[in-house]
Symmetry: C2
């Protein structure tokens, strides 16, 4: 685990530099709009998605520099989704990662535009990746669009807002779309950074791994919301119940949920069993299962 924690920090630092370059004046101009974009994306989060992109690139023999533009792109898409989700007409959250959310800091119009522009620029950065072939660029940008669109992230957010989730199966589908799709994309981007003629079996194993860690991540989130305290968690606890939000615990007991998260994690690890050099990615699965915040 020590090695994983070092790798997380190292990759997060690499990603931060890549993001700064991706958001430089050359691409973003020099206005309040670009400030809002930087506010939303720099300096925050664990960079799990970027980690997946970088480490899957390494696993398939690619150079980390080829992964970094894709890692930037996936973090920009993730950041845009948080900016728009926080807006008053969506989840109406005033705080994000311990600071005012983007629309509280810059106003709604700038937040809306900053989100739009982060999404747009994510594609530009991925498509201008100088270290890969056109085929890799197309594979990556297509995966980004399909993970972030109506059958992925925004589709999941739609179901979440529409609150049409009446069964365990529907909740699983919602979470698979809302958060799982982009986690899968992050991992696939690593493969595409390394290879421009990827093998379907590798894509399937990656999807299985990503699904396992993504689902376990969400279950642990739901468990922490009822079990943790706000000092450890870094945000209010019990908010799901307070907001009447359906979670995995609407349908399963805590024990069942805990067992399911462990099973998903084991399945994620198994998906990578046939690959040499996947230790860090296997450790990540365990780390996400046992995290306390």
């Amino acid at each position: 685990m020590k090695e994983l924690k070092e790798a997380l920090l190292r990759n997060a630092a690499l990603t931060e530099s890549a993001l700064e370059e991706s958001l430089s004046v050359r691409y973003s101009g020099d206005t309040v709009l670009s400030e809002a974009m930087k506010y939303a994306v720099l300096g925050g989060g664990k960079r799990i998605r970027a980690f997946l992109t970088i480490e899957f690139c390494r696993l398939f023999g690619g150079d980390e520099k080829a992964a970094l533009p894709f890692a930037s792109a996936i973090e920009m898409v993730h950041a845009y989704s948080l900016v728009h989700d926080d807006m008053p007409c969506m989840d109406d959250d005033d705080m994000r990662r311990g600071k005012p959310s983007c629309h509280k800091e810059f106003g709604e119009a700038n937040a809306l535009l900053a989100g739009d522009t982060l999404l747009t620029q994510a594609f530009e950065i991925a498509l201008r990746n100088p270290w890969v072939s056109d085929r890799s660029r197309v594979l990556a940008a297509t995966a980004l669009a399909s993970g972030a669109g109506a059958l992925g992230m925004t589709g999941g957010q739609y179901y979440d807002l529409a609150d049409q989730c009446d069964s365990y199966e529907e909740l699983v589908r919602l979470q698979r779309m809302k958060t799982g799709a982009l986690i899968k994309t992050a991992a696939l981007l690593g493969l595409y950074a390394a290879k421009d003629a990827p093998v379907a079996e590798d894509e399937e194993n990656i999807a299985r791994y990503a699904h396992g860690i993504g689902f376990a991540f969400q279950i642990v989130d739901d468990l922490l919301d009822v079990r943790s305290d706000s000092a450890t968690l870094g945000k209010p606890v019990g908010s799901d119940a307070k907001n009447g939000k359906k979670t995995i615990l609407t349908f399963l007991t805590e024990d069942e949920a805990e067992k399911l998260a462990a099973d998903c994690t084991a399945d994620a690890r198994n998906a990578l069993a046939g690959y040499d050099g996947a230790a860090l990615l296997s450790d990540l699965a365990d780390y996400l299962l046992h995290r306390t915040n």
Copy 2:
């Protein structure tokens, strides 16, 4: 002009079919979100941007079928920008093309998500264009991102909202970014649909043409707002003055503006003087200059 009007109708019909395919269940699912996307993009507008993509593709010897996915993509980006611009935190417009704007019809959350998803899916459709090479896909999707981003469309919308436009030069820059950049992209997409090793001189001539028609279009818009009546124009007149909006007529007399629009149109025509088969595109420049709505 008869030939142009027929070509406009024919290309608009081709674009409509391509958009329906681009927004089919396969890409958009089958929810209120996909309904909102269709509401925003189908059945509306003159499809000038799609026309540019299709006709520039033809001009450079390409097949129209190769242009259609790019034409869809540019219209989806244009439609997303209208959905977000109409929202209460931006321009707060209740009506669009004679019907309730997207957020009036579907609520703000769905409108926000529909805009996000249209933008995302525009990239997917362009990147999945089955009739062109990976190089063409990358050229087109990169042009789309750069025309729609901080140095193009959303950057222009930012300046418009920030209302920092104190001189003629600043207004020209704003309009060049807010509307001109996407018009240029539309024309370039046609070139990239036809050629995957485009010549810089062709790109420059296209940019000059697009700048000419785009600027003339905006000037004519401003003139119609003071000169037309709402029955002819299909929307309220005098709205710029009422909203205290700076237009070209803040800085120029009507006569000066009229002369400038004619000069821009002539320059657009000149940019294509060296190409055989550019008659329709030259006619389009005149048509946009003399339009009454």
